[in-house]
């Protein structure tokens, strides 16, 4: 019975793994061919044409990646600056209207995206003197902040106030308590929240398009026309290119978690 249970678990993970990995295989094949008709198992001819296009001037691979990364970093920073204090206050402080404030901060989750973005677009027009990066970042923050706040709100809830109280009783002020006690303890949730914010920000199309009027070319804005034209080879190349920063970010997250775990518990793994 125990053996059957173990086999079932392994089978489950095997199928889950295949479900996630298998779609990547044709993507790789498509990126090296222009033609792959059915029922061929693998394409007959291979070429680097799509990759060459990606790295050509018209391909704008680096411009797209750079813009995406700038907006992503600004979005993460904005979330940390605004979302972290908000999450802390919502979970640890008692104040009148706390429930309402929580609902308002989470409202982008249940208000249609276009409504929120059009609303913020009105504000962005008045801040026309700022670069497009900031306008787009505002929209990305609106989309990502509910996730960020919820994750940290829960972590702060788990943390409670007892350790902070102990630190205060030993003479630590707010800043030292935050840096030496809170921050190390919320780091896993903070890293995960930043990772999720980064991935969501990287994949935003509509908010970026509306806020920049289509002038700030991030990766989704570059990919979208090719996707709608049905050019599978080019789309595959861009998809892999898009996957690269995501893969690096996820890897970076696991490395940071390992370092953090080793630091706070004396052993890795």
């Amino acid at each position: 019975m125990e053996k059957l249970k173990k086999v079932s678990i392994w089978l489950f993970f095997l199928f889950m793994g295949l479900f996630m990995i298998l779609p990547i295989i044709p993507l790789i094949f498509w990126s090296f061919t222009k033609l792959w008709p059915w029922p061929q198992l693998i394409p007959e001819t291979f070429s680097l044409e799509s990759w060459k296009y990606l790295f050509s001037d018209t391909g704008r691979a680096f411009e797209g990646l750079f813009n995406s990364l700038v907006v992503m970093i600004l979005t993460v920073v904005g979330n940390i600056l605004l979302g972290l204090p908000a999450a802390k206050s919502l979970s640890q402080r008692e104040f009148f209207g706390r429930g309402l404030a929580f609902i308002v901060l989470l409202s982008p989750l249940f208000i249609p995206l276009t409504v929120s973005i059009m609303g913020i677009h009105g504000i962005a027009i008045q801040l026309d003197f700022l670069p497009d990066y900031f306008h787009v970042t505002m929209a990305h923050m609106l989309v990502t902040m509910p996730y960020f706040i919820v994750m940290l709100w829960y972590q702060y809830k788990l943390l409670g106030l007892k350790l902070q109280e102990a630190a205060f009783s030993l003479g630590a002020g707010s800043m030292k308590t935050f840096l030496w006690i809170e921050l190390p303890l919320i780091t896993p949730a903070l890293l995960l929240a930043c990772l999720i914010v980064s991935i969501i920000s990287l994949s935003q199309y509509l908010p970026t398009w509306i806020m920049s009027g289509g002038t700030l070319l991030t990766l989704p804005l570059i990919i979208f026309p090719y996707a709608s034209s049905g050019n599978a080879s080019i789309v595959s190349v861009y998809s892999i290119w898009f996957f690269l920063p995501v893969f690096i970010l996820v890897s970076l997250y696991f490395v940071c978690m390992k370092i953090h775990h080793k630091k706070v518990s004396g052993h890795g793994g």
Binding site: K162, E165, A167, S169, L170, G171, W180, P184, S265
Partner: protein, 336 residues
């Protein structure tokens, strides 16, 4: 240190009302009280974690340092024993080398030698609480505030740590304000005891004062003093006795000093004094067995008297008629 008319309020709720308390230098003051009476709030107020609504804290000389030890260890889970103990020193800006040196010297006193690189999850409950105490004591506080620090530990460990802390206090000479709800713990270490109820200190004195001179029925009830009856009830039982006590309305007597005999015994004198005892007739209603004693409940004239017997003594059978010998001069009288 003196607390003068200290009040603490949470919103509209007044948790502490005009507290007047003196903590003497080098003494252990124990504060007792039922749950929700405001004991922890008072400690947090003294430690500066909660603002005082009214009143002030006055120090004999310059403002002294306080150190608060909580009921649960509250160790920082991401720090080693050494880092936990050194936390307060780090806050003060003392160099890493110096604070490590100070902590390592102190580890022997804390009986934590060799554990300095362990994390809190790698320690036993007793060791965790020692680290928690060490974290405060390394700062050499003038006043140590203890909020039931050993309440979560099992009894043998609690007694052991209480004794250890008592010796430490006697050798270092710091003052202690110790909150506990264990009467035995309080009385073995206390120089003075205070009783806090409903946000007010209702009696302060040396430990035995609470037995020999309870200030009210509230106090007597908190310490679960046995056989607490009104003067009227005592008069019902002992109608022929001349009561010299006129002012205090209540009287209690330890269950251990009451004698019990079968009703047919010849020493019975029908409510009159027989040497030092006055004998009351009653019916045994219940026998409660404890780990060290057994308690016999004798009903007489509408009330139940408690009589304590040793475990090796034979208790009377429930429902039998007995007589209880009360040493009248041992009744402690106190105001209602």
């Amino acid at each position: 240190m003196r607390l003068e008319q200290v009040s603490i309020q949470y919103g509209q709720q007044r948790v502490l009302k005009s507290i007047q308390l003196e903590i003497r230098k080098g003494e252990i003051s124990v504060l007792m009280g039922p749950s929700g009476s405001g004991k922890t709030t008072l400690l947090k107020g003294i430690a500066g974690l909660i603002p005082l609504s009214e009143g002030e804290i006055k120090w004999e000389e310059q403002k002294g340092q306080t150190g608060l030890v909580f009921q649960e260890p509250r160790l920082f889970p991401h720090m080693t024993v050494l880092e936990n103990i050194a936390f307060g020193l780090r806050v003060k800006g003392i160099s890493k080398k110096e604070r490590n040196h100070r902590v390592k010297e102190f580890l022997k006193t804390l009986q934590l030698e060799g554990l300095e690189n362990r994390y809190p999850y790698q320690l036993s409950g007793g060791q965790q609480q020692r680290v928690s105490l060490g974290r405060v004591l390394v700062l050499k506080p003038e006043l140590l505030l203890l909020d039931e620090p050993f309440a979560s530990l099992d009894q043998p460990l609690r007694i052991q740590l209480t004794e250890w802390l008592y010796s430490l206090q006697r050798s270092y000479g710091f003052s202690v304000l110790w909150i506990t709800h264990y009467v035995d713990e309080a009385f073995t270490v206390a120089d003075r005891v205070g009783l806090l109820m409903d946000g007010e200190i209702i009696q302060v004195g040396n430990p035995l004062d609470f037995y020999q001179n309870p200030s009210s029925e509230k106090v007597a009830s908190f310490f679960a003093l046995s056989n607490r009856f009104s003067r009227v009830q005592w008069q019902k039982w002992i109608p022929n006795h001349c009561f010299t006590e006129k002012t205090n309305e209540m009287g209690w007597i330890p269950a251990r000093v009451i004698h019990i005999e079968a009703s047919s015994s010849s020493s019975y004198s029908g409510g009159l004094e027989n040497e030092d005892f006055i004998w009351i007739e009653g019916i045994v209603r219940r026998v409660k067995h404890g780990s060290k004693t057994q308690t016999v409940l004798i009903e007489s004239k509408g009330e139940c008297l408690e009589v304590e017997l040793n475990v090796w003594e034979k208790a009377p059978v429930v429902g039998t008629a007995v007589k209880a010998g009360i040493p009248f001069n041992k009744i402690v009288w106190y105001p209602r």
